[in-house]
């Protein structure tokens, strides 16, 4: 007996047991769901159901997941033995490009190529589904992630109600275009283009109003208050029937006309955006570039340095003359701006808006994009948003066997956990955090190993 327990305690077999257990859980979670009348269908189907094993031959699910567990065990053991070698080789390989990237012409060339790719992208993706996903789910979320990154990544404030600003932007657009049950201001129905400054101004005011009393709070307390703010806005949108149309959406019960599309009427130039997502894609692309440039200029400005100081040590920041409240409120207002714009585009593109679009889940989703991409890294959150949103939309479009839409957040959670373990600074860490890792690698620093993600 004792010999068996000793054998089970060796690292090798412990890894095998962990792999088997993980895959058993995954098999259960991805398997069929039971019901009140047949409660055993879930577990028995999860393991017993016959599936095609790698398209080669039919077999029970337990065999498939047993193979997965063996593969996981193999990769794990291999990584422990060869991981350091692989990481060193990878960093040797990526050093020359990184160094080249430090040269201005190379960097600008890279940006030009990126923008060119962005411009021709809709011509590479011709599927109707992916074109609309590109706008509604990817580009809009890139904007939202960029905005939340200012709050979370630059100023270090945990905001769990970011969706509120998105909602305010969208409802402000509906309001000034005269598409809400409540009359437009001064009875003038504006083109959505004019809604952009109005919406951005409104969300920035909302940011200041929310921020001034609450940003004295720190950490968890702030997170709770922002969470509440997000919920309040959604509840307002749901319950103020006379103003927002309630849960019927911006059209209200009476079926008011929808929010108009963007249009340009400048002398001889007439252009009207339509249901076609491609023109919207270009519109957002322009604004994404504007926000990226503005936010990265801000990051390296005096304001950005004040944010870094507050994030690292608030008392020290005060001692050098930084007013923490002022700069935190600024972060809130500036971050909200891009969410406000995202709201305008969503409103104009989807014609009707509903409170159900602006849920807590969206706030969490945006936060997940920022954490996955790399807090404080503009390139990181943009790429992170593209990767995660593309992935989740792919799962929605072509779900693998047994996948249900509600499973998405489970996978997202698993992805975040794996990110935190293996790459805690995110997909593309910000420069400050990357520099820290370089310091550790060269042996000059003695940073906490967990923080830098260098060793398991």
């Amino acid at each position: 007996m004792s010999r068996i327990t000793t054998a089970l305690r060796t690292p090798m077999s412990r890894r095998l047991i962990t792999s088997l257990a993980t895959m058993a859980v995954v098999a259960l979670m991805t398997g069929p769901s039971g019901s009140a009348t047949q409660p055993t269908v879930g577990p028995s189907g999860s393991f017993g159901e016959h599936v095609s094993i790698f398209g080669l031959f039919p077999g029970p699910r337990w065999l498939l997941f047993f193979i997965f567990a063996l593969v996981m065990w193999g990769i794990w053991s291999f990584w422990l033995r060869r991981g350091t070698t692989i990481r060193t080789a990878a960093s040797t390989l990526t050093t020359p490009p990184k160094r080249a990237f430090a040269h201005r012409p190379v960097r600008w060339g890279f940006y030009v190529v990126l923008i060119f790719l962005g411009v021709i992208f809709p011509h590479l993706v011709t599927s109707q589904y992916w074109q609309s996903v590109m706008v509604e789910q990817i580009a809009v979320f890139v904007l939202l992630a960029l905005g939340l990154n200012v709050v979370v990544g630059f100023a270090g404030l945990l905001d769990l109600g970011f969706v509120a600003f998105y909602a305010i932007g969208a409802y402000a657009t509906a309001w000034v275009t005269g598409s809400l049950p409540t009359p437009a201001p001064f009875g003038i129905h504006l083109n959505p283009f004019f809604a952009i400054p109005v919406a951005i101004a409104l969300v920035m005011i909302a940011g200041v109003l929310l921020g001034t009393p609450t940003l004295r709070l720190r950490g968890d307390y702030l997170a709770i208050v922002t969470l509440g703010f997000g919920e309040i806005i959604t509840i307002f949108a749901n319950n103020l029937y006379g103003i927002t149309g309630g849960s019927y959406g911006s059209g209200g019960v009476t079926g008011k006309h929808g929010i108009p599309h963007f249009s340009i009427n400048l002398g001889p130039i007439h252009y009207r955006w339509t249901l076609n997502p491609v023109p919207y894609y270009y519109l957002i692309l322009v604004f994404v570039v504007i926000f990226i440039v503005a936010f990265s200029l801000l990051e390296h400005s005096r304001v950005g340095r004040a944010w870094t100081a507050i994030r690292e040590d608030e008392v020290a920041a005060e001692s050098v003359g930084i007013n923490p409240l002022k700069y935190k409120v600024m972060a809130f207002a500036i971050g909200a701006a891009s969410a406000g714009f995202a709201g305008v585009v969503t409103a104009a593109q989807t014609i009707f808006i509903f409170p159900a679009t602006f849920t807590l889940q969206v706030s969490i989703n945006i936060l997940a994009l920022v954490i996955f991409g790399g807090m404080g890294s503009i390139a990181g959150v943009a790429v992170g948003a593209m990767v995660i949103q593309t992935g989740s939309m792919y799962l929605l479009h072509t779900p693998p066997a047994g996948y249900q839409p509600a499973d998405l957040y489970m996978y997202l959670g698993a992805l975040l956990m794996v990110t935190m373990i293996f790459r805690p600074m995110g997909l593309i860490p910000s420069r400050r955090r990357r520099r820290e890792i370089v310091l550790t690698e060269s042996g000059e620093g003695h940073m906490n190993e967990v923080l830098s993600g260098e060793n398991p």
Binding site: E312, A317, N323
Partner: protein
Amino acid sequence: MKLEVRDAVVRYGAITALHGVSFDVDEGEIVTLLGANGAGKTTTLRMLSGLHGVTSGHILFEGRDVSATPAHEFITLGIGHVPEGRRIFPQMTVEENLEMGAFARKGSYSDDLERMYTTFPILKERRKQLGGNLSGGEQQMLAIGRALMGQPRLLLLDEPSMGLAPMVVESIFRIIGEIRDAGTTILLVEQNAAQALRLADRGYVLENGRIALADRADVLLTDPRVRAVYLGEDAV
């Protein structure tokens, strides 16, 4: 008079931390505040740097009442604060930390940066390293340098010797003396009474939120009560 504290009372809710404390610091002096844990040293410094307001009483800096000034405006007034536990920015380089010290200033500060590197040669060697990777003594020097970058006329030092090796404390105290010689008035809050009194001109001893003793530093150094309580010698 550089700094005058008159009958300052500080309360944390129902607890009174300072019961009417009065003391002053003259131009060009090093004054030290001594006291055991919980005597009110840190509260006094928090009050002097605007982190905690006074319930009653006054703080006059160069004749001006600063008792209601928010913390972040103190450096612009001319009061620099080296917080307890150093509190340097861990993920900024040494140079960026020093530059942050000049945040509230207008105009160029490059000659001050050079002066810091002459005062603290070790910081020049480490200028590209992250603040968090420095040793305790280097961090203390960085914290002092950062406060000096704001060109204070009065420097508040909160326990600069905390957690440092005796030799390092020695050199930190030598530097504090040099800073005073360069024209900055210093208020030093310390637990290391012997070192502090050897450096200071005058000293105050806080006990239970009140000033228990006030005298010239050399007198305090020989005072049997001080020797008994703070220097670990048996009462005579």
